[in-house]
């Protein structure tokens, strides 16, 4: 009771302090709430959509967002108007530079003017050869519509690739549908693909491209380091690590070539199916 009275007396004799504390608490609380709101918004809006690619040399996204001051100097020095600054409402962090491969791809300037223009290091000047850029990774994402997968010779993504034959090659495989033709499958190699997006831009399909540049994280699986690749080990060691292998005979198949598992070597070739197709339609030259 007496404590309570003293406290009351103290408050009554010192209203400025009470007022000050109350005001301060209100102000600090309001500012805290506001910045918490901003923080949460930032966390949500930091996710970069898969179609938005950062300029060459961009730091990893988290560091990039800390270093980029949104000045647009990279945009100004891009000679092809590839780069643009995200506006509020775009899915990209507002004010940061990006490009959309499907609209305007990166032309891979040799002098990399966007990187030279960046005053903060959000675009890393350690990148001195544009072929070392990793803006994303091209993925032939739709084999059902890609004309080369249908057996045609479109090859446009391969032809326009600035790192042709290294970043994209055409891999020859047998066409099982006709059984007498080849398919030349555009195949991307992550060692060389810069993610410039020219393949996606050039894809002849009317709407969406069959080959798309995706963020590397989306496009690539993690390497299975716990599996040894025998052929790589063999090459590194200059020979088989386990020495020459003895080929043991298989009972009943003696005298056959290794791997020939037909039970009767004189067995007739199976009759052609009614509808030609499959791996062997029976056609012979």
């Amino acid at each position: 009771m007496s404590d309570n009275q003293t406290m009351r007396a103290g408050v009554a004799t010192n209203p400025p302090r009470r007022l000050f504390l109350r005001e301060m608490a209100g102000v600090a609380g309001g500012a805290c709430l506001a910045s918490l709101g901003v923080g949460l918004y930032v966390k949500q809006a930091s996710a970069l959509p898969a179609t938005a690619l950062r300029p060459p040399g961009a730091l990893a996204e988290a560091e990039f967002l800390a270093a980029c001051v949104r000045c647009g100097l990279c945009v100004r020095d891009c000679p092809y108007d590839t780069l643009k600054l995200a506006e509020l409402g775009d899915a990209v962090a507002t004010g940061t530079p990006y490009f959309t491969a499907h609209e305007v791809p990166c032309e891979m300037c040799e002098d990399i003017p966007c990187v030279a223009a960046c005053p903060t290091g959000a675009l890393d000047r350690g990148l001195d050869d544009i072929e070392d850029a990793r803006m994303g990774l091209a993925v032939l994402i739709d084999q059902e519509t890609c004309l080369n997968f249908l057996g045609l010779r479109c090859d446009v993504c391969y032809r326009v690739c600035p790192v042709i034959d290294r970043a994209i090659s055409l891999e020859l495989v047998h066409n099982p549908r006709s059984d007498r033709h080849a398919m030349l499958l555009p195949t991307v190699h992550s060692d060389h693909c810069t993610g410039c997006g020219k393949c996606e831009r050039a894809c002849v399909l009317p709407g969406e491209a069959a080959i798309k540049v995706l963020p590397v994280k989306l496009a690539q699986g993690s390497r299975a380091e716990h599996y040894r690749r025998g052929w790589e080990e063999k090459e590194a060691a200059g020979g088989s690590l386990i020495g020459e292998q003895v080929e043991l005979p298989v009972r009943g198949l003696e005298g056959r070539a290794y791997g020939d598992t037909r039970v009767r070597p004189d067995a007739p070739v199976p009759a052609s199916p009614a509808v030609p197709g499959g791996l062997d339609s029976g056609w012979r030259p």
Binding site: E23, M24, G26, V27, A28, G30, A31, C32, A34, S35, V38, G39, Y41, V42, K43, A45, S46, A62, E63, L65, A66, A67, C68, V69, R70, C71, G72, L73, V75, R76, D77, K84, L85, A86, E87, L88, G89, D90, A93, T94, G95, A117, C118, P119, T120, G121, R125
Partner: protein
């Protein structure tokens, strides 16, 4: 800071003069126009608008006409291909986020920092910042429409917000404030394209118009708070040098974006000299314009003379 006389929202005198007082508050500076002429009563305002729009034009003639004098925006720019300028407020956020930028940004930030430290940090607010055009327009309209009421947060809130902005940068590891900063957003939007940033700028306008007199620039903006910290040794200051001639018309209080700064100098409250040394003063010079008695002038902080 909460000096009662500094609040232009309070009725000034007894009921009989209410109508006239309201009209005077709606059109401060009318008397000055009569005594000094329109040009004389608006010269600092015109100079300030010329500065704000001229700086904006320097950035815009590049993208509009291909005359590349200045590239970039107020966050960071390159003038004539040689002079880098970077906003030290952005660099402070970058440092808080744990980034040390390249030398260009540091040099550019140093130049800007030195300029504002020397001449006065809040010159940025009144002579450069594009949001000033928006909030001045809101304040003008609020006066004309005679809007009352609303509630302005404590003016110290901006320093708290500044602390939290830097804290948010440190915690999130990104320039968190730049997601919503109306200042950089407006300038960038004018030069590079807006998107929905109109919404944020419109929000600032409506907030100042309907809710809080001079609410954004005078109470909330952490960027203004940052430049206010650079304003403590400002060389350029406003002096109420002829305060003996003051006829208490209150026009200066009505137009001043930080009206709490005037009284100590004008009424010698807590200080002897007539200099406005409060770092909240943006040295906009509007008080010089609207005073029909030529009480105020823009001078240096060493000029304590009275005449």
């Amino acid at each position: 800071m909460n000096t009662p006389i500094a609040d232009p929202e309070q009725p000034m005198a007894g009921g009989g003069r209410g109508e006239a007082a309201r009209d005077a508050r709606a059109r401060p500076g009318d008397e000055a126009v009569q005594t000094k002429g329109w040009l004389g009563a608006n010269k600092w305002l015109l100079a300030r608008r010329a500065s704000q729009l001229g700086i904006l034009a320097l950035f815009l003639v590049g993208p509009w006409f291909g005359w590349w004098i200045v590239k970039g925006n107020l966050s960071s720019s390159l003038t004539l291909g040689v002079l880098p300028l970077t906003d030290p407020f952005l660099l402070a956020q970058s440092f808080a986020a744990g980034v040390v930028p390249y030398r260009e940004a540091l040099i550019g930030g140093g130049i800007v920092l030195a300029f504002y430290l020397l001449l006065g940090g809040r010159l940025y607010c009144s002579w450069v910042c594009p949001v000033n055009l928006v909030t001045d327009a809101a304040a003008w309209l609020r006066r004309r429409l005679g809007l009352r009421g609303g509630r302005a947060p404590d003016a110290r809130g901006r320093y708290w917000l500044l602390a939290f902005v830097l804290g948010a940068a440190a915690v999130t590891g990104t320039l968190a404030w730049e997601w919503v900063n109306p200042v950089s957003m407006l300038h960038r939007g004018l030069i590079f394209g807006f998107g929905l940033a109109w919404g944020i700028v419109g929000g600032v306008f409506l907030y100042d118009l309907l809710i809080a007199t001079r609410g954004w620039c005078g109470h909330l903006c952490p960027m203004g708070a940052f430049y206010g910290l650079l304003n403590r040794a400002a060389l350029l200051r406003v002096s109420a040098g002829r305060r003996a001639a003051c006829n208490d018309c209150m026009d200066c209080f009505v137009v001043c974006p930080e009206p709490q700064v005037i009284r100590p100098a004008l009424k010698a409250a807590g200080q002897e000299h007539p200099l406005i040394l409060n770092p909240d003063c943006t040295t906009c010079g509007r008080c010089v314009d609207v005073c029909s008695k030529n009480v105020f002038r823009i001078t240096t902080r060493f000029d304590r003379s009275e005449s």
